[in-house]
């Protein structure tokens, strides 16, 4: 610019020569934090990952990301107790994201659209026996098949699903949903043999030429307790009641049914009794509602349907057409203690819902195993004390839920795969947890959880129609978009926008951002204004 005034007139954009990065005492760095939903999921789902795709309406991709970890989303979307939602940071803002309902939407959408799993990768030549076609076994079979192993499932019963079929009432899990998701697994080439009870695991493995086995036989034996009773009183166990619901002959429980216990099974059976025509379904539970192991929303639904609950009561005696209960009182430590006060209740039958035991007889004679409290002990890699035999689900010590079982199946599959290849499975290191304090929630719109439509109360009391409806596409999308993406960049452009020094490079869709440290002065605005906590400041070495 020779003709322009010296020094007073400058060329545009020349301040790029001034590298203000030297001012910095701390630098921002991008990071991924572990979303609390993912962290809480017993099945190890990448929840945030699949919600991301659901947010943009790409449901198939969302479903595909989902089933990388769990092959049963339609089931899961109905029966999972969604610990993810309990951990969801949005719960501190308005209410947790309805992850479970979106999962169900995706699962149902997959069934409706006939989405199939991707064909397995190259065959490994190895053969794995899965014992039990419950959630854990199906999950393991699915993952093993995807890894290229040949999988056979031996199922003692006549149908697949295990407790999903024989423990969870239809009104919570319609059977066509279960059947569809099971079939999709079988379509991968998994062989399923019904009515094949494994009596001796080592023998079955030898006969079938299996290289490894995953045992997931579940816990199907109802626990009993001694109740002095006359012959006239019908005392049955809950598992049997629920199992017989799947057969032709529905259980005959009478008009006044007493259920003894406080878990989810007690609720399930009481609600089933109501649907079978009982005028009274009374749960007798020895402690208070807040101590009850059953999930509160299920208790609530049961109460809405007319199920009654006798708190702080134990059954002392069952007579003809009635039972005697004793009032209990909680002591200082919260344990129920007898009070000596009695009361009688009319009852045509008593259903015991006191928990279940595992039939471990198939392990008889297998060396090196350790049993404790009626379960088989497994190492962190899910392998029993006998090399090549792995176990999971209700038969190992853990919380007995479908989701935990599915998680066991996946974990076992990964370890079996490694074991078969002579390696050790190393899970990716866990990122630090994305906590609410890492978020800047200003940026999220106020939006309460979409309530799923509930079936009309009258119909719930008399039919086995599914109680809880699903979301339709619009509200599933809405719900997915409530996700805060805790700890992981979702490309909101805030860092790119709020930098007063233009020191952030936008790399384009899906590629996130980069800092231009030549100019970044280290003010920290990007960190403060990142909605999801995907940036942190790190001190410079000065």
């Amino acid at each position: 610019m020779p003709s322009k005034p010296f020094a007073i007139t400058l060329k545009p954009g020349t301040s790029l020569n001034n590298l203000t990065g030297s001012w910095r005492t701390a630098r921002p760095v991008y990071l991924d934090r572990l979303p609390p939903c993912n962290n809480a999921c017993p099945a190890g789902e990448n929840i945030q990952g699949w919600l991301f795709h659901a947010e943009s309406g790409d449901y198939e991709q969302a479903w595909r990301v989902l089933v990388e970890n769990n092959p049963l989303p339609a089931v899961m979307g109905r029966v999972c107790y969604h610990p993810c939602e309990g951990a969801c940071n949005r719960g501190q803002l308005d209410s947790a994201v309805g992850i479970n309902s979106v999962e169900r939407f995706l699962g149902d959408e997959a069934i409706k659209r006939g989405w199939k799993f991707a064909a397995p990768t190259a065959a490994s030549g190895k053969k794995v026996l899965v014992v039990g076609a419950g959630p854990s076994g199906l999950s393991a079979a699915y993952h093993l098949a995807c890894m290229g192993h040949k999988v056979e499932i031996y199922e003692a019963g006549p149908l697949a699903g295990g407790m999903m079929r024989f423990g969870i009432p239809k009104y919570r899990l319609p059977r066509e949903i279960l059947d569809a998701e099971v079939q999709r697994i079988l379509d991968l080439g998994v062989a399923l043999r019904f009515n094949t009870k494994v009596e001796n695991i080592q023998q079955s493995m030898k006969e079938g030429g299996f290289d490894a086995a995953f045992l997931a036989v579940g816990a199907h034996i109802g626990k009993r307790t001694f109740i002095p009773a006359g012959d006239a009183t019908k005392i049955v166990d809950a598992v049997s009641v629920l199992r017989s619901m799947e057969g032709e002959d529905k259980p005959m429980l009478g008009r006044r049914v007493v259920v003894y216990g406080g878990g989810n099974t007690a609720i399930d059976v009481a609600r089933t009794a109501k649907r079978l025509g009982a005028t009274e379904a009374i749960i007798v539970y020895r402690r208070t509602r807040d101590k009850m192991p059953a999930h509160d929303f299920e208790v609530e639904e049961a109460l809405q349907e007319g199920v009654m609950i006798k708190w702080l009561s134990t059954i002392k005696q069952a007579g003809e057409g009635e039972i005697t209960v004793e009032k209990m009182a909680l002591d200082d430590k919260g344990f129920p203690q007898p009070t000596g006060e009695y009361e009688t209740l009319a009852a045509d039958s008593v259903v015991l819902a006191l928990g279940q035991d595992v039939d471990l007889s198939l392990l008889d004679g297998v060396p090196g195993l350790e049993m404790k409290n009626g379960t088989v002990q497994v190492a962190p890699n899910m392998m029993t004390g006998f090399p090549g035999i792995f176990a999971g689900g209700d038969m190992v010590p853990s919380e007995r839920t479908v989701t935990v079982a599915v998680g066991h199946g996946k974990k076992a599959a990964r370890n079996i795969d490694a074991w078969l290849r002579g390696t050790v499975y190393e899970s990716a290191p866990k990122h630090e947890l994305a906590e609410a304090k890492n978020l800047n929630t200003w940026y999220y719109s106020d939006a309460h959880k979409t309530v799923r439509p509930m079936l009309d109360i009258i119909r719930r009391q008399s039919t086995f129609e599914e109680v809880q409806g699903g979301l339709d596409e619009t509200n599933a999308l809405f719900e997915a978009r409530r996700c805060l993406s805790c700890g992981n960049c979702f490309e909101c452009d805030n860092c790119y926008g709020v930098c007063p020094d233009n020191a952030v490079i936008k790399l384009g869709p899906g590629k996130r951002f980069e800092f231009k440290y030549d100019y970044c002065k280290g003010c920290g605005l990007c960190v403060a204004e990142c909605p999801c906590g995907a940036i942190k400041m790190v001190a410079e070495d000065i």
Binding site: K4, P5, L10
Partner: protein, 418 residues
């Protein structure tokens, strides 16, 4: 075309012929008639392609001109006295940014006491502002200098003040030759800025410059004015070729060839001085005149050359460097330093005080005889001054000066004529 017209109107017509694109107007006597005339021309459509902006102050007037000039528009404004002082910050800024704004200064005294009449205190106060300053002797020259001023300013990318004596010229009806549009167009090309605010080629004008380059920037402003010393005579020559008239230039001499005494002045008073000199020449006095047209840049060399053969000079100026003496005189002395010439300063005509021929003749004779004080004050009422000085010596609260002096003058006038 020869016209009998008011000086302000003549200047307005001359400005219009220069095709200004933005005119900033704020009323202050005695320049008001100029912008009134231009405003009418813009509104009537006689002056097309021109934005006439009624600003809220002289500071805004110069600021608007800064903006429009930087954006490549030929920009003009006019002011005087207090108005010039009110815009001073922007005056310096316009030159600092190298913006070729043309401004008429209808020279007027500066208050307090407020006074609307002519002297040169206003523009001379801006002698170091970086603006060029040309002083017109007549309304014809005022017209001509404005036409030259646009060309000069735009060639150098520096602003310029064309100074004309308030009332004496601005409000005087004289015969003026107003050139044709064709003539002016042939002389003055369209504004081709050296730098311009243009989205197609962005620049940043008005940087903050620190010690590392500030002196160079100031020197370059000085260098521009040195270039103007060469350009001003050249443009005057071109003007003569186009318009057939001697107008402008750095200095103009009158009957100076064998002069022993040279009277130096700027502006319209040169006319009176020439009359007196003519009279004195007839009486045999060896006396001549040096008129300074370009006060900034100050033509040191030309002034020195003009004076080198005389014996003494007298600077008659309508300004007072309070506490020193003459402003123009100081500049002239710089020009003749080392020559040993005897120089006198006479301050005259402040605040519109008449400068009668008789007073001048008396003064020039005294100068010839070298009987003058180094600084003298033409027609100063010493009686009034001395009385006030005496009062102030005696009483701390001696009362308002102006009232006292009016009283004194009233008494003395009564005594004289009573």
């Amino acid at each position: 075309m020869l016209k009998q017209m008011e000086g302000s109107q003549a200047v307005a017509e001359a400005i219009a012929l220069c095709r200004p694109e933005v005119i900033c107007a704020y009323p202050i006597s005695p320049q008001t008639h100029i912008v009134e005339g231009l405003g009418e021309m813009v509104k009537s459509g006689a002056l097309p392609n021109c934005e006439f902006i009624n600003v809220e102050s002289e500071f805004a007037a110069m600021s608007v001109a800064i903006g429009s000039s930087a954006a490549g528009a030929r920009s003009y404004t006019a002011t005087a006295s207090q108005g010039l002082l009110f815009m001073v910050e922007a005056v310096y800024n316009a030159s600092g940014l190298g913006l070729p704004i043309v401004m008429t200064v209808a020279n007027r005294a500066i208050g307090a006491p407020i006074n609307i009449w002519n002297d040169h205190s206003d523009s001379l106060s801006q002698r170091d502002s970086g603006w060029m300053q040309l002083f017109a002797e007549t309304n014809q020259e005022a017209v001509d200098l404005h036409i030259q001023a646009f060309k000069l300013a735009e060639e150098l990318s520096m602003p310029i003040m064309v100074c004309m004596d308030g009332f004496i010229l601005t409000h005087a009806f004289e015969r003026v030759d107003i050139p044709s549009q064709e003539q002016v167009d042939a002389y003055l090309p369209p504004f081709e800025p050296r730098q311009v605010l243009d989205p197609a080629e962005p620049i940043s004008i008005g940087a903050m410059v620190g010690p590392e380059a500030f002196m160079e920037v100031r020197y370059l402003a000085h260098a521009k004015q040195l270039q103007a010393l060469e350009l001003i005579p050249k443009l005057a020559d071109e003007f003569k070729q186009q318009f057939g008239r001697d107008s402008g230039g750095l200095i103009r001499t009158y009957r100076i060839e064998d002069a022993e005494t040279v009277i130096i002045a700027m502006g319209s008073v040169l006319g009176t001085i020439k009359d007196v000199v003519d009279d004195m020449r007839e009486q045999g006095h060896k006396i001549g005149v040096l008129g300074i047209i370009s006060f900034r840049p100050f033509p040191l060399e030309q002034v020195r050359a003009a004076l080198i053969n005389c014996k003494r000079f007298l600077v008659l100026e309508k300004s007072l460097a309070v506490g020193l003496g003459g402003i123009v005189a100081t500049n002239v002395r710089m020009a003749v330093s080392g020559t040993g010439l005897k120089g006198f300063t006479a301050v005259a005509g402040l605040g519109g005080r008449a400068i009668p021929k008789a007073s001048l003749q008396k003064l020039f004779v005294q100068a010839e005889k070298e009987e003058l004080e180094p600084v003298s004050f033409v027609d100063l009422d010493w009686d009034a001054v001395n009385k006030q000085l005496e009062r102030e010596r005696q009483t701390r609260r001696s009362g308002p000066i102006a009232e006292n002096m009016l009283h004194d003058k009233g008494m003395s006038t009564a005594a004289k004529f009573g």
